[in-house]
């Protein structure tokens, strides 16, 4: 193999992206778990760990920049490295959603949860499951998988929709619950965004493999169309 060193370095970058992805997956699941238990220390730990996620992102970004500067990547290599830049930034933002949920937990203080968390943990499971498979598709450059994952966003959106209407109903019945309902709505919104960003990662995977920029249709547009003004 002519460019063994370069290929090893590319492999390393991919491994690092996967590692970053698993840190983010963990943070999202943990943020909801910790919220369920109203565990303040756990929430603080998630906020601290987000710093590690950010650090990792910058380290990968630097690694990518050095590779671009020193190896003059072309064609597939160039698409891969440029797309990694994009993917790590998506991952970092997903990490921020987990941190956001941890922050909500802390801001809730002594308040109890408005309702037991059932759909919210399901959203977290679905979103991180999509993320996990999106990153597997990225590593394998599996176009078919990458194109099929965003559709699963429908389910996440359906849950979000359900939570939204449920919380609205509670607010109408008892306006004193507005603040507590709003906290949960924010949590659900953060999780809904996770799934959206998975779609962006899948689009990058298709681009790396085929060289084509294409927007994979997620159901998101329909979700908003379904909402009354």
């Amino acid at each position: 193999m002519i460019r063994k060193t370069f290929e090893n370095e590319i492999q390393q970058v991919k491994d690092e992206v996967l590692l970053l992805g698993s840190m983010v997956e963990h943070a999202i699941i943990a943020s909801v778990e910790v919220l369920k238990k109203r565990d303040m220390k756990g929430a603080e730990k998630i906020i601290a760990e987000d710093k590690e996620i950010n650090k990792k992102r910058f380290a990968i970004e630097n690694q990518l920049m050095v590779l671009i500067a020193t190896q003059q990547p072309m064609a597939h290599d160039l698409r891969l490295l440029a797309s990694c830049m994009e993917i790590i930034s998506e991952l970092e933002r997903m990490g921020d959603y987990a941190k956001g949920i941890a922050n909500i937990n802390i801001r809730m203080g002594e308040e109890t949860l408005l309702k037991p968390l059932i759909d919210i943990p399901r959203m977290a499971q679905l979103g991180t499951g999509m993320l996990h498979r999106a990153l597997t598709a990225f590593v394998k450059e599996d176009v078919e998988a990458a194109q099929s994952i965003p559709v699963e966003d429908d389910e996440v959106d359906a849950l979000y929709n359900q939570i939204y209407h449920e919380l609205m109903l509670i607010i109408i019945q008892d306006p004193r619950s507005i603040e507590r309902a709003n906290w949960l709505l924010w949590v659900a919104h953060n999780l809904e965004r996770v799934a959206d960003r998975v779609t962006n990662i899948c689009e990058r995977t298709v681009f790396i493999a085929t060289g084509e920029f294409s927007e994979i249709k997620s159901s998101d547009d329909e979700f908003w169309k379904g909402q009354k003004k």
Partner: protein, 260 residues
């Protein structure tokens, strides 16, 4: 391309093949070279890049046994037609070589000589100045015109050779690795100069330096030999496509450095 009008071609080839005796060095080339564009020819050593380039100004005529089949149309006219005078044809197609090859004469004479031989009757001082300005060399040599061209640096000599080519007012400029003997700064100067020159000329450049092809050209022709050791153009596309999303796996392997 935003411009949808039919492009004008400086050179068109139809099933162009170049043979040395019974061996076919280049086979079946079909290219449309747009006017006022820079076309890079890339590919591994021995794939026929220079052979193809030389066919564009009939330099292969000097090689015994060399035979050209198919067609090269220079603005619609068959370059290898029976009624075509190769000397006259070469006047329309200038060539710049890998190593700068100025004449052992003054800077001024390097430009004036060819023009004079070609029957130039106008103001020679003006022609010299204009050609040197076009080659981005005037400011550096305007007070040294009577000095020997050999006193110039390699990069300056190469620009002098380009000025000499321009003085004859060709339509096409062929460049065979024009910067491979130059340092990086002189190389970038030549590449900048090419961008200026393409306002008036069509440039075809052979280069081993892929970054140079990527930086400096509008279109890239990727050449490769087949199992009969004949070279051919396997992919021709806008340069930006060749280096970001080539269609042919062999092009991909070559531009990413996986070939060989």
């Amino acid at each position: 391309m935003e411009n949808n009008s039919t492009p004008e071609y400086a050179i068109t080839t139809h099933d162009l093949s170049i043979h040395y005796g019974s061996y076919t060095a280049v086979s079946g080339v079909n290219l449309n070279v747009e006017k006022q564009k820079i076309i890079a020819i890339i590919g591994p050593s021995g794939c026929g890049k220079s052979t193809l380039l030389r066919a564009f100004n009939r330099m292969n005529d000097f090689v015994p046994n060399c035979r050209v089949t198919g067609e090269i149309l220079l603005q619609g006219q068959n370059l290898y037609g029976k009624d075509v005078d190769p000397v006259e044809a070469r006047r329309k197609i200038g060539m710049v070589f890998q190593k700068p090859n100025p004449f052992p004469k003054s800077i001024y004479e390097n430009i004036a000589w060819g023009a004079r031989i070609n029957g130039f009757k106008g103001n020679m001082d003006e022609l010299v100045e204009q050609s040197l300005r076009s080659a981005a060399l005037w400011e550096e040599v305007k007070d040294l015109l009577q000095k020997s061209a050999y006193e110039l640096s390699g990069g300056q000599q190469q620009r002098l050779c380009i000025a000499r080519t321009i003085a004859i007012q060709p339509e096409i400029i062929l460049m065979d690795e024009p910067a491979s003997a130059l340092d990086p700064i002189s190389t970038l100067r030549i590449e900048e100069l090419m961008q200026e020159l393409k306002k008036n000329y069509t440039i075809i450049i052979v280069t081993h330096n892929m970054q140079q092809a990527a930086r400096a050209s509008d279109y890239t022709a990727m050449m490769m030999i087949d199992d009969k050791r004949s070279g051919g153009v396997i992919e021709f596309d806008e340069t930006k496509n060749i280096f970001t999303r080539p269609k042919d796996k062999r092009t991909e392997d070559y531009v990413t450095g996986r070939f060989g």
